[in-house]
C-alpha cells in the first residue's frame, strides 16, 4: 500500500528490516525541510513570529501523539531522543528514588537490551532483584506465567508489547490488571507495537509506555515517554538545564517548570518532533486498523510460503506480529543476509539486541524479516524464490 509516497522504494530495494527502522514518506521529509527553510528558530523561547510558529508545530505533535496512543492529557507526553532514552528516564528518574533492596523487577529473556540493561544497573545499585517471567514453548508470555512469577516483593513488570525477535504480542491489558491488583507498576516498551497496531494506553492501563518515532515513519532521534500524570509528577528529571526551569537564584532556590517541559531539558530535536507529527498524521490517514490487518495478511502469506521450504526453520511461527525469524539449515544467518543483499533484499541477521534469548531458544543468531504496510506479496514472492534454492544460497553466500 502507498508505495508511491516513499522515495526509497524507487531504489529497487526490497526493504524487510522495518523492526530496525521504517522508511520515511516524502511528507515527513518535506515537513523537516519546511522547518529549516521557513521557520527555523528555537522552541519555547522566542517572542517573534517564526519562533511562535515553532512552538505551535512542536506542541501540535504533542497533541497528535496524545491522540495517537489515546493518552488522557497532553502533559503525559514527554519527548525524548528515542525509546532507549525514555526507558532510561523511567528507570532512573522514577524508579531510582523509589526502589528498595529486595524489590523484584520482572522482565523476560526476550526483551531488547534497552529494556534490560537500565534495569540491571538499577538492581545492582539498589540491591533490588531481576526476575524473569518464563516463556512458553513458543517463547511467548502468557498471563499464567506472569501470575506465577509475581511474589509479594514484585514492584515492577517491564515488558515489550511486541518483542523484536519473537514478535509475540503480549496480553498487556490483562497483565496490567493483574499487576495493579498486586500494586505492581507496569512499564511497556512499545517500540515494536505503536507503528503496527492501534494502541490505547488508557484502555491498556499501563503506567508508562515508551517508543521511538523512527520505527513509525518519523525521523531518528525522537522518542516518547508516556506516563500517567500522577506518576510523571514524581519523576525526577535526569537532565537539568535550560528550558526546564522556571527560575533559580542559588542552589536552594530552583523552580522547575511543570510537566512535560520539566522533563525536556535543553534545545529539543525540533525538526524531529515536527517531522514526527507529520508521520502520525500520515499513519492516522491510512488507519492503524488497516495497517494491522494488511500486515496480518502479508505475514500469513509469508509464513505459508516459508513453512513449505523444508530446510528453513521458522523460530516464531505462532507470533502474531509482522516479524518472522528464521534460519536456513546449516548456514550462518549472516551469510543468508549477505546472499539476499546481492539481490537488494534487506533483512537483518544477528541476535537483534535480545542477547538473553539464546538461553531460551538455544539459537544465538537468526535472520529476521520484519514487514510493514508498504511491503507487497510480490516482494515476498521474490524473497521466497531466493530462499527456495539452497544450492544457490550456498553458491552465492560469499
Amino acid at each position: 500500500m502507498h508505495r508511491e509516497d516513499f522515495l526509497m522504494l524507487n531504489k529497487d530495494i526490497i526493504y524487510f528490516d522495518n523492526a530496525a527502522t521504517s522508511l520515511k514518506p516524502k511528507c515527513v521529509v518535506d515537513k523537516i525541510c519546511e522547518y529549516y527553510n521557513e521557520y527555523s528558530a528555537n522552541a519555547h523561547r522566542g517572542d517573534y513570529d517564526i519562533s511562535y510558529k515553532v512552538d505551535l508545530e512542536y506542541e501540535n505533535t504533542r497533541d497528535l501523539v496524545k491522540d495517537f496512543i489515546n493518552a488522557k492529557n497532553k502533559q503525559e507526553i514527554v519527548f525524548t531522543s528515542g525509546a532507549t532514552e525514555s526507558l532510561n528516564l523511567v528507570v532512573n528518574g522514577f524508579f531510582g528514588p523509589l526502589i528498595e533492596p529486595d524489590d523484584e523487577i520482572l522482565i523476560t529473556k526476550s526483551e531488547h537490551a534497552s529494556n534490560v540493561l537500565p534495569w540491571f544497573r538499577l538492581a545492582k545499585k539498589t540491591k533490588a532483584k531481576i526476575k524473569y517471567i518464563n516463556l512458553d514453548s513458543a517463547y511467548e508470555v502468557t498471563l499464567e506465567n506472569v501470575q506465577k512469577a509475581i511474589t509479594p516483593k514484585t514492584k515492577i513488570i517491564a515488558l515489550a508489547q511486541v518483542t523484536n525477535v519473537i514478535g509475540d504480542i503480549r496480553p498487556i491489558k490483562q497483565i496490567c490488571k493483574l499487576a495493579h491488583d498486586h500494586n505492581i507498576f507496569v512499564v511497556v516498551d512499545g517500540a515494536q507495537s505503536v507503528a503496527h497496531m492501534p494502541v490505547d494506553v488508557q484502555n491498556m492501563d499501563c503506567d508508562f509506555f515508551t517508543f521511538s518515532a523512527h520505527k513509525c515513519l518519523g525521523p531518528t532521534g525522537v522518542g516518547v515517554l508516556y506516563g500517567k500524570l500522577e506518576l510523571l509528577e514524581q519523576l525526577e528529571p535526569t537532565n537539568l538545564g535550560g528550558g526546564m526551569n522556571e527560575s533559580f537564584e542559588d542552589e536552594e532556590q530552583v523552580m522547575l517548570k511543570s510537566l512535560p517541559l520539566r522533563l525536556e531539558a535543553g534545545t529539543p530535536n525540533i525538526e524531529g518532533v515536527i517531522g514526527f507529527g507529520e508521520a502520525i498524521k500520515y499513519l492516522e490517514k491510512i488507519g492503524m486498523d488497516n495497517i494491522a490487518s494488511y500486515e496480518k495478511s502479508l505475514k500469513e502469506f509469508l509464513i505459508d510460503k516459508l513453512s513449505k521450504i523444508s530446510f528453513i526453520d521458522i523460530i516464531n511461527i505462532k507470533a502474531k506480529s509482522g516479524i518472522v525469524t528464521f534460519n536456513v539449515d546449516n548456514i550462518f544467518s549472516q551469510d543468508v543476509a549477505y546472499y539476499l543483499n546481492k539481490y537488494n533484499v534487506c533483512v537483518r541477521a544477528g541476535s537483534h539486541c535480545a542477547k538473553m534469548l539464546k538461553n531460551e531458544t538455544g539459537i544465538k543468531n537468526t535472520c529476521r524479516i520484519s514487514l510493514y504496510f508498504y511491503n507487497t506479496k510480490e516482494e515476498i514472492d521474490k524473497l521466497v524464490e531466493l530462499l527456495e534454492d539452497k544450492e544457490k544460497i550456498i553458491k552465492e553466500m560469499f
Partner: protein, 147 residues
C-alpha cells in the same frame, strides 16, 4: 588463483574447518575476537612454546568467510615462530587493505586476495588475525614478565 578454486578452498574450510575444537589445557592462551559491526564471534586457543606456535584451536559462531579465514590461518601458522607469524599477519592485513604484500608468505590465505571488493566482508576475513595478534601480545608480555 582462479575463482572456482578460491570458492572451493573457502567452502572446504568453511564446511570442514581445521582444528575447530576446544582443548582444556591451561598452557593455551585464550583470546576472543569479535566484530563489533557484525555478529562473528570466535574464541582462539593458542599454544606457544619457546617462541614457536605449536597449536591453535578455535570455537564460535561466524560466517563462511570468517570461519574459512580462521581455518586457513591456523593451518598456515602452526609450526611458525612468533616472528614469522607476525610477518604473515602483516602481509595478510596489507593484502586486505590493498597495500603491497608478499604473495609467497600467504599460501592458501591468498584466496582472500580480492576480498577488498566486498567492503563489508573485509572485517570477516581479518577477524582471526585480530585474535591471534592479541594472543601473540599476551605471550610476549608474559615472557617479558610484565603482565
Amino acid at each position: 588463483m582462479d575463482q572456482e578454486l578460491k570458492r572451493e578452498i573457502i567452502m572446504e574450510n568453511y564446511l570442514h574447518p581445521y582444528n575447530k575444537e576446544k582443548v582444556s589445557d591451561d598452557k593455551y592462551i585464550n583470546v576472543n575476537s569479535n566484530n563489533e559491526s557484525c555478529i562473528d564471534n570466535i574464541d582462539l586457543q593458542v599454544l606457544i612454546d619457546d617462541d614457536k606456535i605449536v597449536d591453535i584451536r578455535f570455537m564460535g559462531e561466524a560466517c563462511a568467510i570468517s570461519t574459512a579465514s580462521t581455518s586457513i590461518m591456523i593451518k598456515e601458522l602452526i609450526g611458525k615462530t612468533t616472528e614469522e607469524a607476525l610477518k604473515m599477519i602483516e602481509n595478510f592485513e596489507n593484502m586486505v587493505e590493498e597495500e603491497e604484500y608478499d604473495k609467497e608468505l600467504l599460501a592458501e590465505a591468498l584466496v582472500f586476495d580480492d576480498i577488498f571488493k566486498q567492503k563489508s566482508r573485509k572485517t570477516c576475513a581479518t577477524l582471526p588475525y585480530v585474535g591471534i595478534k592479541k594472543a601473540l601480545n599476551e605471550y610476549r608480555n608474559e615472557k617479558n614478565g610484565n603482565c
